[in-house]
Amino acid sequence: MTPMSKIVVLVTNLLCGFILVFGFYVIVHGHLTPGGGFQGGAVVASACALVVIAYGDKRVKERLSYDAFSAIEASGLIAFVGLGFFGLGATFFYNFLAVERISSLRWLFGAKALIGPNPGDINTGGVIPLLNLAVGTEVLGALSIVLLLMLMTYTPKRGEAEIEESTAGRRAQETGEKHETGGN
């Protein structure tokens, strides 16, 4: 899997941050706007896919580690189940933080929501934003892990392996192509 051209890398550099911000926005505003943990996590994982495609397997393996994403995914699922257990005073997955049920934890998404059509306040929803964060963490970890696992087992083709040996080989290939086009 050779790294792609400079244009793709440049566009990835510019775009990746925006994709990450949009993904986290979808996760964090899940209780106010369309979207939620699953959707936002998928968007964040798409940024990971963009990096993998643009930079190629070799450089990605240097920076991104399978174990880190595995830990992220597992922590997301553990947080999700744990939040479910916290509500066990009433029922499993009880929304114990919402609408000032625990008045001392009002700052933790516990404010009362306005009734009727309104733009919404981020400090509402109780457990729902926290569950959104947990599921978003899990989904971004899971989908990135799928990508990285497929990258792990990737075996380069014959030509690619020689090209990837050194950057000099890459340069030679580029000049060769230029020479061919020039000749024509």
Binding site: A98, G125, M152
Partner: protein
């Protein structure tokens, strides 16, 4: 790779800066949806008037004041249940009325006419009491249709939810009783500001109201504006746990499918091993 991380960090920091600026509200408060209008009982311009001209032969229901269970013979499978909903008490001040304008009657197959009755019932679903019962006079003979026109004005509480239904009851469970109507007009009016929302729906069964309940009580109970997220993470949170488990097991399956003997090996380690 370094450039990507640096750019991402920069944009994230910038986004947090923008959020902080937005939190300070430099352009004033965000605009609220203005749903309340002036309401005058004399003018019907702002009032909600909806009429139906479906002829429903029978609508029978259980009388909630009556403790004894009563069986009915329905001549039509179509149930007709109206509902008047006021969304919020805060936007409303003053009294309000509901005017029922209907044409219908009571029908009975046989037997003692005095022991059976039918009519329009206005049922307060918030306090679970019958707010008003419009009694249709019993027909002179069994098996005879009598049409009467009724107009009633009743006081209602704007913060409560009302359901309007046709009721036919036979006291001794022996005979078929039916209340029938030709049309039913409901007009809701009041002093001061208008209620936020007036809803009247037909063709619903009174028992299946889970969806309506969630839509109406979502903001009060969970505090979340997004009803879908409230359902997914609050009302049906256990289901979402199952979905998350499915995703986790799917990733595990991919890991098994693409497994290698060696774990993740960085290129430097590879060189050292070689």
């Amino acid at each position: 790779m370094k450039k990507t991380i640096a750019f991402s960090a920069l944009i994230v920091v910038f986004a947090f800066f923008l959020m902080a600026v937005a939190k300070m509200r430099p352009f004033g408060e965000p605009p609220m949806a203005n749903v309340s209008t002036d309401w005058d009982i004399k003018s019907t311009k702002n009032s909600t008037w909806r009429s139906w001209h479906d002829v429903v032969n029978t609508m029978v229901d259980k009388d909630d004041n009556n403790d004894s269970e009563v069986e009915f013979t329905t001549r039509s499978s179509k149930s007709l249940v109206g509902k008047v909903t006021f969304a919020s008490k805060t936007s409303y001040s003053g009294r309000s009325w509901m005017r029922i304008n209907t044409r219908g009657g009571c029908w009975k197959s046989s037997g003692k006419i005095q022991d059976s009755f039918a009519g329009v019932q206005v049922y307060n679903k918030t306090t679970h009491k019958v707010a008003y019962y419009l009694d249709f006079p019993s027909p002179v003979k069994p098996g005879v249709y009598e049409w009467h026109r009724y107009e009633r004005k009743i006081a209602i509480n704007p913060s409560d939810t009302y359901s309007i239904r046709m009721v036919g009851i036979d006291k001794w469970k022996e005979h078929a009783v039916a209340a029938y109507w030709e049309y039913l007009n409901i007009e809701v009016s009041g002093e001061g500001q208008a209620p936020q929302e007036t809803k009247f729906e037909l063709g619903e069964r009174a028992e299946l109201e889970m969806d309506d309940y969630i839509i109406e009580h979502c903001q009060r109970e969970t505090g979340a504006n997004n009803v879908v997220t409230a359902v997914v993470f609050d009302y049906r949170g256990f289901d979402t746990l199952g979905e998350a488990t499915v995703l986790f097991s799917a990733v595990t399956g991919v890991g098994v499918l693409f497994r290698r003997r060696k774990r993740w090996v960085k290129p430097e380690e590879k060189k050292q091993e070689a």
